[in-house]
Symmetry: C2
Subunit: 235 residues, 2 copies
């Protein structure tokens, strides 16, 4: 596996339940609310209300809101608090192009640097992704959540395998997640199977140490996600 916190990065981390510390609990909860659409773009985040709901004081909530602002998930204005960021078509285009460049760079590095343990971690994610898309016993939201979590782990494992701590940090905090979730929500079964295929292709090129192919596949994979988003945005 790789150095310090690299593996922990990417996405909001595990589900917002367990006995987490205050700010972390608040951060994960709010992030999940935004990612899953319970908080819509443009909606205000009111510290006191959130604090009451999570049974915390305003202090840790405040901290969490600021972290989300640093991530770019919400925008804040002095004395006016935070609102969920809303994204126009151009923003989506820009965001996905950026994510494609960063993650294909991560895949490129992973292909040069990955150790056996890194590959194993990617495989775990891919296995869970495959299982999740075959689940028929869950409602749509719950299944999407499961798929999203597995998808997150696949990408996180690849990024961790890159061994580039700062890149991992950037991708974890700055790159969208609401969009990814929304995209998955709309995926047909064919599209999910295609994602699964690309995960495997990327995994293989990384394992074989072929940086250029890994990068190209990752770029394409993310562009497919972008196109899916744009299609549902237009509808």
């Amino acid at each position: 596996m790789n150095e310090n916190g690299v593996a922990a990065a990417y996405g909001g981390g595990p589900l917002p339940d367990a006995g987490m510390a205050g700010p972390v609990l608040a951060y994960s909860s709010i992030r999940a609310w935004i990612v899953e659409g319970r908080l819509r773009p443009g909606e205000r985040l009111i510290e006191a209300r959130i604090a009451a709901e999570l049974k915390l004081s305003r202090t840790p909530v405040r901290e969490a809101v600021r972290m989300l602002a640093a991530d770019g998930l919400v925008v804040t204005e002095r004395n006016r608090g935070a609102v969920v960021r809303s994204l126009g078509r151009q923003d989506v285009l820009d965001l996905y192009e950026l994510r494609a460049r960063l993650e294909s760079y991560a895949a490129e590095l992973a292909a040069s640097r990955a150790a056996a343990g890194d590959i194993a971690a990617i495989d775990d994610g891919i296995r869970d992704f495959g299982r999740a898309i075959r689940r028929r016993d869950l409602d749509h939201l719950e299944r999407t959540r499961l798929i999203g979590e597995a998808n997150r782990r696949v990408h996180a494992a690849i990024i961790a395998a890159s061994g580039h701590a700062r890149l991992a940090h950037l991708l974890s905090s700055a790159v969208d997640a609401p969009l990814v979730f929304e995209a998955l929500h709309e995926f047909t079964n064919n599209e999910l199977a295609r994602s699964n295929l690309f995960h495997q292709l990327i995994r293989d090129t990384i394992a074989k140490g072929e940086p250029v192919r890994a990068a190209q596949l990752m770029h394409e994979h993310i562009m497919q996600g972008r196109d899916r988003i744009l299609r549902s945005l237009d509808a």
Copy 2:
């Protein structure tokens, strides 16, 4: 000029003086201390001490420290506070490669998107950079500070011209600054003149709308900075 906050990004912004609000003052001050080396890598940031020095309470200082942590300038551990991040040789290599990729992307976009006002802003920065490197009436630190500020403005103007808000945010918060400052500190006059030349070349390719050349020149420009850093790191 470009949309919303894009132009304001990159680096810590203006010098930490004027009548700024609490957290912003704290953020800028601490950032400057780190960038200019008054706080060395590995050193602890003690909230109470900083609050006393800036005549604030711990609350805004705490917020500023968390912002710096989000930027990756300091690392925090629960119940143990924040210490200035220290970078090994590999970190420097990774960081500069990342910065080169992001900023050359910015230059590429700028070459496609820049408006007349954007070019004018770049020109302003270049003019000040040229003036700063010719100054002989200042001590070394003060001159470096001036050069650094002008350099920051050149790069910020190019990034603003890219019109990519998220990219600007990433570059402003995530990419180093202590390294840039340190690099400038060690630059010979020849090297400063070369930087100035590259700024102009990049500016011209952007103005003429040649994305590929702009990106390549920016990549090279940043790699030159990286090599300078590595040389002084080895000494």
